[in-house]
């Protein structure tokens, strides 16, 4: 019932929406970033961050800080907030919140599987996993030799199981397979999430379909660019695109046959929302594309807060925080390596 959320939304979702909006007010602002960019050492960063919401998480860290500590603690804060919200949530918000983490779960699965393939230590890999995408038996992933085993042994217990139906093969795992698996899983995940949001209806469906469509389109472009010059056939490439979004279906046809970045550009520029992104880039350049997409995403995520009574704010908040942590990681890396001239290359201001 679109338009009538205002009557009942606050019964279950009001408290958490207030919480999430409060958290959003704690996001670092452009003034904070400006100050952070002027820092000389990581201690300066710590000092500045201690005046923000990250303060309690960083104050007990001994002085020679590392980039990883900062990122770890900032992520810890996000995870704490997420867990708090998840504990308070009722259906269907709790399912919605869980959906947000599936992306991290897929990434973690891929990380572990790739890592074991290259014979890395499992504990070391586990430390690198995103804490939001952890599930109980994640360490057992190392046992599996091929997709079928992977599914049968471990993933059948996880929420990712339904997404696996398309990629169960007996082939041994290799880098290419894993990458295809990641994208297939992601496709299934996005489609499922999209369907779920449509089922919720109302403003949630409207806003989330916009955000997820953007995500799907971005993935389609990335898949295309990354698969140029590999042995992936056009049909296989076509299969990895999600079946919704602005580019679906005609844009996908065009992307599927692209041979170089300029063709991608040609295909994308037919869509007005993406035209502005591509018009910022010079021809033949794809490095800055990520940042351009991130900026666009942040803009859209911020817009999600303009409406009330929908779940999109939770998704938007989590994504914005993640972007903020990426920013902090980049800044602290630049500060630590004395590359301050490059600070602005990859920082996306949120406000």
């Amino acid at each position: 019932m679109y338009g009538f959320e205002a009557m009942t939304f606050n019964i279950h979702g009001g408290y958490l929406e207030a919480i999430v909006r409060g958290h959003r007010a704690g996001l670092l602002t452009a003034a904070d970033y400006n100050n952070l960019c002027q820092c000389e050492t990581l201690d300066d960063m710590k000092m500045h961050l201690s005046a923000t919401e990250y303060g309690p998480y960083l104050q007990n860290e001994p002085s020679p800080l590392h980039t990883t500590t900062i990122v770890e603690k900032c992520t810890l804060k996000l995870v704490d907030e997420y867990k708090h919200m998840l504990c308070q949530a009722t259906e269907p918000l709790s399912t919605f919140l869980e959906y947000i983490t599936y992306g991290h779960m897929i990434d973690n699965v891929v990380l572990i599987v790739t890592g074991t393939l290259h014979e890395r230590d499992v504990q070391e890999l586990l430390e690198k996993c995103h804490p939001l995408g952890m599930f109980d038996s994640i360490a057992t992933l190392a046992v599996a030799q091929n997709m079928r085993e992977l599914y049968r042994l471990v993933l059948v217990d996880t929420p990712l199981a339904p997404y696996f139906s398309e990629c169960i093969t007996s082939e041994d795992l290799d880098d290419m397979n894993i990458e295809i698996m990641r994208n297939t899983l992601y496709k299934a995940y996005l489609e499922d999430f999209y369907k779920f949001c449509q089922k919720l209806g109302g403003a949630t469906a409207e806003i989330m379909s916009d955000l997820l469509a953007f995500e799907a389109d971005r993935r389609a472009v990335n898949i295309t660019i990354n698969s140029i010059g590999t042995e992936l056939t056009r049909d296989d490439r076509r299969k990895l695109y999600s079946n919704f979004g602005l580019l679906y279906p005609y844009g996908h046809e065009e992307l599927a046959v692209c041979e170089d970045i300029d063709q991608v550009r040609g295909a994308m520029e037919k869509y007005p929302p993406y035209q502005s992104i591509f018009s910022k880039l010079s021809y033949g350049e794809s490095q800055m594309l990520d940042k351009a997409f991130y900026e666009e995403e942040v803009k859209r995520l911020c817009l999600a807060f303009e409406q009330q009574f929908h779940y999109g704010v939770f998704f938007a908040y989590m994504r914005l925080r993640e972007q903020e942590i990426r920013n902090l990681m980049w800044i602290s890396e630049c500060v630590a390596q004395n590359q301050k001239s490059r600070v602005h290359d990859s920082v996306v201001f949120i406000f």
Binding site: M47, T140, V143
Partner: protein, 817 residues
């Protein structure tokens, strides 16, 4: 009159302290000492001259960072001490202050030592845990192996119809080898280990899936709890043995074990070997235990010695940090040899500040003294009241509404008496008052003890308001005596009642009433009213009229205070066009009503005051008839009504027009607006306490005046009505206590049964304590608060000032770091 007012001695609390903006120029070498002396003095509020700089661009950022690092170390020590459970036994000793550098070194040393000790004991703990786990695995897994073998053997034995022998273990061990051999032949092998109990089920499922069911899983809870090294909690673990076949399965299972964090320990097949290993482990365990104990003792000793100094160190680091934070607010002068600071300080404290600065110069052997001089400020100074234990709580009540504007009349002076009094009007019962008094006295008697303690938020509030509570209870006793209520029971304290029954039997006392036979009861309400038919009408009429009298009196006080404010700020405009019409308006209507009430009380007339008031508006020229209280009442009413009508436009129109005229006169001939730029006034220092002229906007001023007048006119009616809450609350209180007394206590007392009587007494006591003493106190408190904040203070109080927050060590709390 004017002279008399001017000659009144100034009250401390009436106006906030005179403040002056001062500038300090302190040589760098004595700056730290000077600021810490000022912190001890605690009478100077520094202004931040570096507000535009981010924290790490300031001068003393390194020192602040060092202090932050030290307080982190101190927190680490505190954590460790709490973890070791030593906190309660430590009494801090006071030692002379050590130098900051020295302290920093000491802290680093201690931290290093502690971390080393921790890592050592952690290593030991880990080895100990491993051995313990191994021991348990040996015991449990060994018994699995044995019982398995026994079963297998037993089946064989059953086949050959042998009797199951008694000495199981010997038999088993003798057969174990044989069994193992057969097992080896069939490729059956096992892995044993230990795993967290919470993970055991999933672990089993995973094993089942990985080996496609070709395995046998045995588990038993481990006998003892093992300390988890990460969380330092005791956790339960489960010993397991997996039987399987094949090399591939083995690698898989080992991987799964690793993934689940299960520790695998080899259990030898040979039973005697098992025993031998068990023995070895036991002896090593006991060795380790003594080492661990020694380690813990050593650590505790170190922690205790740290604990002696911890509080002192913490407060010292906090002070240092505060000093450097303050130093960061100062500017360097041009020569970079002096620090320049600005701040507010009360005029009376100037000498003390100067003395502190001199002392600092002297103590730090500086050649150059500090310079201290007063600057003129445009910005309004902060508000500072010197309160004591007693007045503080009342000042807090006023501050909770808004901090007084600099030097405006402070309602707290009157609140000290009016607040508890209005409370008591609603809470009039001398029994309840005595209960409150006892509570307040307990709080005051234990003042010195409670003030050093950390109280809960509720107790803190109660303790903070102890003197309010004291006066509230005293006034309730007074009002209770006037209402003649003691837990709703009337007493003949001040002599006998003025009334008696018509005859000896008193049979018609409730129908025909009593007759008065002597002088009125000397103080308060006559006890004979109690229970009579006309009790409620009598008390209601009394309390209602009293509420109106109190309300009109308090509102008049408020308006008079606005006169004193206007006088103080030399604004004759406010006196002439605000104070005078307001006075006239309020008193011509409600002042007149109060007058009528008093006259009616004095002459005992039967006149209907409602009627008088209502028809004063509806038809002022009509004859009053039997409602006439005094001669010439009708013309007086007409005059008052006209005055009230005149007062409204009087307070509405002149002031904005006069203001406009004044403004245009001031800027006569200046057709161009002032240049608003930094070149205009070269003296303006950035961030100095100077501000620009405001622009005059007539429509804004007029709308503001209109709102103000309408609010006053409507407010005069609604605020007077609002004071009727005094009557309503007082009625509710006395009715509630009557109900509890009559319907609970007396009813229960009517039975000749100890149980019922006791129950009734208990219910009465609880109701009195929780409903009457707590809830009613709270509600009467809130209503008194409202009457002060809204009805009283809106007549004169602006409340848009800001509080004086001096830099003081005494105010640095523990949460600050």
């Amino acid at each position: 009159m004017e002279k008399f007012i001017d000659n009144l001695s100034p009250m401390d609390l009436m106006r906030s302290e005179k403040m002056s903006l001062v500038q300090l120029i302190i040589p760098v070498e004595s700056a730290h000492r000077a600021v810490s002396y000022l912190g001890e003095l605690g009478l100077l509020q520094f202004r931040d001259l570096n507000a535009e700089k981010s924290p790490f661009q300031r001068t003393f950022v390194n020192q602040v960072k060092r202090c932050g690092e030290m307080s982190r170390k101190l927190r680490f020590f505190k954590d460790q001490i709490i973890k070791a459970g030593l906190l309660s036994s430590i009494h801090p000793v006071v030692e002379p202050d050590v130098e900051l550098e020295e302290l920093e070194m000491q802290l680093a040393e201690h931290e290093h030592e502690l971390i080393e000790m921790n890592s050592n004991s952690e290593k030991l703990r880990q080895t100990y845990n491993e051995l313990l786990e191994f021991k348990m695995v040996l015991i449990k897994a060994g018994s699995f192996l044995v019982s398995n073998n026994n079963q297998a053997v037993a089946e064989e034995w059953e086949l050959s119809e042998n009797v199951y022998s008694s000495d199981r273990y010997v038999e088993a061990s003798s057969l174990l080898e044989q069994q193992m051999r057969t097992a080896d032949q069939s490729g059956l092998r096992f892995i044993s280990g230990i795993i967290f109990q919470s993970k055991a089920l999933r672990f089993e499922r995973m094993l089942f899936r990985a080996t496609r069911g070709n395995m046998l899983f045995n588990q038993a809870p481990a006998g003892e709890e093992i300390m988890d090294p990460l969380s330092a909690e005791m956790v339960k673990k489960t010993v397991f043995v997996v039987f399987f076949s094949g090399e591939q399965a083995r690698t898989k299972i080992l991987k799964i074990c690793e993934a689940f964090g299960a520790n695998c320990y080899p259990v030898p097949d040979d039973f005697s070997k098992q025993r031998q290993i068990t023995r070895e482990i036991l002896s090593r365990l006991s060795e380790l235990e003594t080492t661990l104990d020694a380690g813990i003792r050593h650590q505790n000793k170190a922690l205790t010695s740290i604990g002696y100094h911890l509080t002192q160190w913490m407060s010292m680091v906090r002070r240092e940090k505060a000093v450097y934070d303050t130093l960061n607010m100062l500017n360097f002068d041009v020569t970079k040899k002096c620090l320049v600071g600005e701040g507010w300080c009360p005029v009376f404290a100037k000498a003390k500040v100067q003395e502190a600065l001199q002392r600092a110069t002297f103590d730090s052997n500086s050649q150059v003294g500090s310079i201290f001089h007063v600057m003129d400020a445009v910005e309004s100074p902060p508000t500072y009241f010197r309160t004591n234990h007693f007045t503080n709580a009342y000042q807090e009540i006023v501050d909770a509404y808004g901090i007084a504007r600099y030097q405006e009349a402070n309602p707290a002076v009157y609140t000290v008496v009016t607040f508890p009094f209005l409370f008591a009007v609603m809470f009039g019962d001398w029994g309840h008052g005595i209960c409150l008094l006892l509570g307040a006295l307990v709080l005051i008697a234990r003042e010195s003890r409670l003030s050093t303690q950390k109280l809960g938020s509720f107790m803190e509030m109660l303790f903070g308001g102890r003197y309010v509570l004291l006066l509230m209870s005293l006034f309730s006793i007074y009002c209770g005596l006037i209402y003649n209520e003691f837990f709703s029971v009337p007493f003949h304290i001040f002599g006998g009642s003025a009334y008696k029954c018509r005859d000896a039997t008193c049979s018609d006392a409730h129908s025909a009433g009593l007759i008065k036979f002597r002088d009125p009861y000397p103080f308060g309400v006559d006890p004979s009213w109690r229970g009579s038919r006309s009790e409620l009408p009598f008390l209601n009429s009394l309390k209602m009229k009293m509420s109106i009298l109190l309300g009109v009196a308090q509102m008049n006080l408020g308006i008079i205070l606005s006169y004193f404010n206007a006088r103080f700020f030399r604004s004759s405009l406010d006196i002439r066009y605000q104070f005078v019409p307001q006075m006239i308006f309020l008193n011509s209507l409600f002042g007149y009503l109060s007058l009528l009430i008093i006259i009616k009380w004095c002459i005992g007339s039967q006149a209907d005051l409602y009627h008088v008031m209502i028809y004063m508006f509806l038809s002022p020229t009509d004859d009053l008839g039997e409602n006439e209280l005094f001669w010439g009442q009708r013309p007086l009413q007409i005059v008052l009504l006209l005055l009230a009508l005149v007062a409204v436009p009087w307070m509405l129109f002149p002031k904005p027009f006069i203001l406009k005229k004044l403004h245009s006169e001031r800027f006569q001939g200046r057709n161009y607006g002032m240049l608003v730029s930094s070149e205009f006034d070269p003296d303006v220092e950035p961030d100095s306490a100077r501000e620009h002229h405001e622009e005059f906007n007539f429509s804004e001023v007029f709308v503001h005046q209109m709102i103000h007048s309408i609010e006053f006119v409507l407010g005069a009616v609604s605020n007077t009505a609002s004071y009727l809450r005094l009557w309503a609350l007082s009625l509710a209180h006395s009715e509630l206590s009557t109900v509890f007394y009559e319907k609970v206590l007396l009813l229960a007392w009517g039975y000749d049964n100890v149980v019922i009587r006791l129950t009734g007494l208990a219910v009465f006591a609880f109701a009195t304590a929780f409903i009457l003493l707590m809830m009613e106190t709270l509600s009467a408190f809130l209503h008194a608060l409202r009457l002060h904040w809204v009805e009283f203070q809106n007549k004169f109080y602006h409340g848009d000032g800001y509080k004086f927050k001096p830099f003081s060590f005494a105010l640095i709390t523990e949460d600050d770091d």
